[in-house]
């Protein structure tokens, strides 16, 4: 089914809608955010008028319904076929997931454990956005090497800021196109094309449950951003980090974690190394093994945020499922396409 929203200034916004899906949910899934608040047919914020097509209304508060023929609440309007709906607002008032494309210069490159680079970019000012670096911790950017087709996704490791600063932690993949460029040719001052923020791997801040963040390989950056965000907001939610690596020299420098521990006193950390050297006293095994051990003793089933390469993700997900973590409490980001 296709929904067409017609704004007061006659813009036509088209998007698909599944059977049983409400118009507001379908619009939001398509990146369109008409004014709305309760999402349950009570506040009256999403009122609109169906001018063509059949629909049904789900449960709602009668006084929130607009009077007159075709009056609906988008959050409770279930199309029964293609529908055309008039919105009481203008096109500009419909929120959009705008995905800016901007240019940024390499400001610094440093080693971040064996085989990884900490890359810092500085955005060039933008007419509409100025120097704002606007994202939700956990999201990523697409970086394109200028003059090439090489475009790769990298998660932001720092926090939203007003200085145009973007921090990444990039694990160099032997023979990889972006990895080779970064490891061998890139220099401070080089310019990259930056598109983002993208992605839905973000903290569910309304959840009352403890959080368990599981990262491996190149999947540390978004988790770092989330933890920094929690530290910045003095978020007192219980949180445990499981950070896995193949060898201990691939772990991030210890100062990084010490700083987080200082700012987040409730932070628990398990460093797990799969193939540790003889002196290793921490957990030996994969991050999935470490999660298993953590869940075995956890007092309350946490929300799990997991980010890493596909094989690690699969192992972590099946461990979580085996330990009875409901699917809705698992948030995941694959860092390899």
């Amino acid at each position: 089914m296709v929904v067409t929203l017609v704004t007061r200034d006659a813009a036509r916004l088209e998007f698909p809608c599944a059977s049983g899906q409400d118009v507001l949910g379908a619009a939001e899934a398509a990146g369109l955010y008409p004014p709305a608040m309760c999402h349950e047919g009570s506040c009256g914020m999403c009122q609109a008028r169906v001018v063509e097509g059949a629909y049904e209304m789900g449960p709602h508060t009668e006084s929130a319904m607009p009077a007159g023929p075709g009056g609906v609440l988008l959050c409770r309007c279930l199309p029964q076929g293609d529908v055309t709906i008039e919105l009481p607002c203008t096109d500009a008032q419909v929120g959009r997931h705008k995905i800016p494309v901007r240019e940024a210069e390499i400001e610094a490159m440093a080693q971040a454990g064996a085989g990884a680079v900490a890359l810092t970019l500085r955005l060039r000012p933008d007419a509409e956005l100025g120097l704002a670096v606007d994202f939700i911790p956990g999201q990523y950017m697409e970086l394109t090497i200028l003059g090439t087709e090489t475009r790769r996704a990298y998660s932001l490791a720092n926090l939203p800021n007003w200085e145009g600063r973007l921090d990444f932690i990039i694990r160099l993949q032997p023979g990889g196109a972006f990895s080779s460029w970064l490891g061998e040719r890139a220099a401070v001052g080089d310019v990259l094309n930056v598109r983002g923020p993208l992605g839905h791997f973000v903290l569910d801040e309304s959840s009352p449950r403890p959080r368990c963040l599981v990262g491996g390989g190149c999947g540390m950056a978004p988790l770092l951003s989330m933890l920094r965000h929690m530290a910045d907001f003095q978020d007192s939610q219980p949180v445990h980090l499981i950070y896995g690596a193949n060898r201990e020299d691939e772990l991030l420098p210890a100062e990084e974690l010490d700083a987080l521990r200082a700012a987040l006193p409730q932070l628990g950390v398990t460093l797990s190394v799969w193939r540790p050297g003889p002196g290793w006293t921490g957990f030996s095994g994969t991050s999935a093994d470490a999660l298993d051990a953590y869940l075995a003793t956890a007092a309350e089933t946490p929300d799990i945020y997991v980010c890493g390469p596909p094989r690690m993700m699969e192992a972590v997900m099946s461990t979580a499922q085996r330990r009875g973590v409901p699917e809705a409490q698992i948030f995941a980001e694959r860092v390899q396409s």
Binding site: P35, M37, C38, S42, G44, T61, S63, I136, L203, D235
Partner: protein
């Protein structure tokens, strides 16, 4: 969770109250339950505070904590669970401190300290799961099977009115105005509620006492606002942007606005008001800042599209906040009692990040063709014009006064207020206050007796000013307020409006038109009392209510 404190409360299938995982406003179950627990503890503080007041040993720090704590629980104020996880143990500590102080003070006065029960003894759990398990006894509906709906409804009326009182009192206190009567009055109401009252007459008396207390509180807030920023004077406010960097300030707190104006002085940043901050332009000492550029947008329910389109940071100083959309989450800041998880909160009046955000963002690239509205008709200005008004009434140029005041909201039924203002006869003067005015304040009302026909009296607490004028007119014409050709058309949304309504009733103002819907916590029996005892009338249609108001006058 169960919450039915505001006008937009869920009425799905005719059942009143937000009782699912999330309220209509976006307040989630956990936060709602924690708010209930906090209020329960505040009652405990109120129990001891009341006795300390009686012994002449008040603890004003505890009393201010009560006001702030209650304020965080108003509609559209604080949605951040983490804030309540901190306020709850703090409340318990304060309550225990007061208990010790009370026992010592009683002993010193040669009395035996009373053994208080209920909230005075309640021990909150030290973890979230435990607190949620306890929330049931703190629910507004606790005990309904025993005491019945009417008692629950009246207790709710008192609690919600009290929240409004506390919010106003907090605004006044941060501007340096507070007094014993207010502190003791608020503590008293909590103590009263802690006793789980069941006597309807006693509860009605308490509600009226609260209405009178709110009159004092609004008067004190008026003194705080005018004392700090001068008496409002008629002022034209630009409602269109000027070119340049920009900060938007919403909510009701004039002190926060003042601090932001100071923090942005000579920085090339323009400050715009939003929502209930519009009346700020009328205050001479705020108006004097050249970078207080204008007003942007309208009432709170439009904030998502307005904030998304604003090219700079936004500061929310009190209600009404709704869920920030992704496009402006990182540039909206909360202050004072306001909060949302993951949204930056201003601490210690440090606005440096807001300034930085304003400078990093482009601001308005060009000015729009100028439009203006007129604000600033506080009681001083109106008293100054009283002579002209009285003459206009005597000459018949003004035949009626309508005060169309209160909140705005998203419900379609609120069109009533637009129609009411637009359809009021040309020989009627319209006074307005609260954010409901955005429905009509840009319409052309013309003039009457040499005065603008639409007078913007200010924020909802400036009902105090409107009452001053009514009282002055009544004095001049040697009659009661109810004998004046004056009708009050009140649109309510949240708990400050509940406090204002109690004030009107306590002062004996009759025939208040209340809408757009009636409070869900008022049972048919309680509504019967309001109608019979106080002449409160639900709204019907604008035209019918206008002619009823005019005919009542003619009759």
């Amino acid at each position: 969770m169960f919450c039915f404190q505001c006008e937009q409360t869920s009425r799905v299938d005719g059942v009143a109250g937000c009782a699912s995982a999330k309220g209509v406003c976006g307040k989630d179950e956990t936060t709602a339950d924690l708010q209930d627990v906090l209020i329960h503890l505040l009652k405990g503080i109120g129990q001891y505070s009341t006795r300390l007041h009686q012994l002449g040993q008040p603890d004003n720090a505890a009393d201010s904590f009560i006001m702030y704590g209650l304020f965080t629980t108003l509609t559209n104020v604080n949605f951040n669970r983490a804030v309540f996880m901190e306020l709850i143990p703090e409340a318990a500590r304060i309550r225990d401190r007061l208990r010790a102080a009370y026992e010592a003070a009683a002993a010193k006065a040669g009395q035996t300290a009373a053994q208080l029960s209920g909230p005075a003894q309640f021990q909150p759990a030290d973890n979230l799961a435990g607190l949620l398990a306890q929330a049931q006894i703190a629910s507004v509906r606790h005990g309904v099977e025993i005491v019945g709906e009417d008692v629950i409804g009246l207790r709710a009326l008192i609690l919600y009115g009290l929240k409004g009182v506390a919010a106003y009192a907090h605004h006044a206190e941060v501007l340096g105005q507070a007094n014993e009567e207010i502190y003791a009055g608020i503590a008293h109401a909590l103590d009263f509620l802690a006793g789980e009252p069941v006597d309807v007459a006693a509860m009605l008396d308490e509600a009226m006492a609260l209405g009178r207390l709110n009159y004092t509180v609004m008067q004190t807030l008026d003194a705080a606002n005018t004392g700090n920023f001068g008496a409002p004077a008629p002022t034209e406010v630009l409602t269109t942007p000027v070119a340049g960097k920009a900060i938007l300030v919403s909510g009701h707190d004039l002190r926060d606005l003042h601090n932001i104006l100071e923090a942005t002085k000579d920085k090339g940043i323009n400050v715009y008001t939003h929502g209930e901050m519009l009346p700020a332009h009328g205050y001479p000492k705020l108006h004097a800042y050249p970078h207080l550029a204008g007003n942007y947008g309208g009432a709170w329910q439009n904030q998502q599209s307005e904030f998304a389109a604003f090219p700079g940071p936004i500061v929310m100083t009190s209600n009404c906040l709704i869920e920030p959309q992704p496009s402006y989450r990182n540039r909206i800041f909360t202050a004072g009692p306001v909060g949302w998880p993951g949204i930056r909160h201003i601490k210690n009046d440090d606005y440096s990040q807001v300034v930085q955000a304003a400078q990093a963002m482009p601001g308005f690239t060009e000015a729009a063709p100028e439009k203006k509205v007129l604000v600033g008709f506080g009681h001083e200005t109106l008293m100054g014009a009283a002579g002209a008004v009285v003459d206009a009434v005597k000459s018949g140029a003004i035949k009626h006064f309508f005060v169309i005041g209160g909140c705005d909201g998203a419900a379609p039924g609120r069109n009533y207020y637009t129609d009411f203002a637009d359809h009021a006869p040309k020989d009627a003067m319209v006074l307005t206050l609260g954010c409901g005015k955005y429905r009509f304040n840009t319409h052309d009302f013309g003039t009457i007796g040499g005065l603008p026909r639409l007078l913007d009296v200010g924020q909802c607490n400036d009902t105090y000013s409107a009452l001053q004028i009514a009282l002055a007119l009544a004095k001049t014409f040697e009659c009661g307020v109810n004998d004046l050709p004056l009708s009050l058309i009140v649109s309510w949304f949240e708990q400050k409006a509940a406090a204002v309504l109690l004030t009107l009733l306590a002062l004996g103002v009759r025939n208040v038109r209340l809408g757009p819907s009636l409070p869900a916590f008022l049972t048919p029996a309680l509504l019967g009392v309001l109608v019979e005892k106080f002449g409160v009338q639900p709204i019907t249609t604008a035209d019918a209510d206008i002619s009823a108001a005019l005919n009542r006058q003619a009759a």
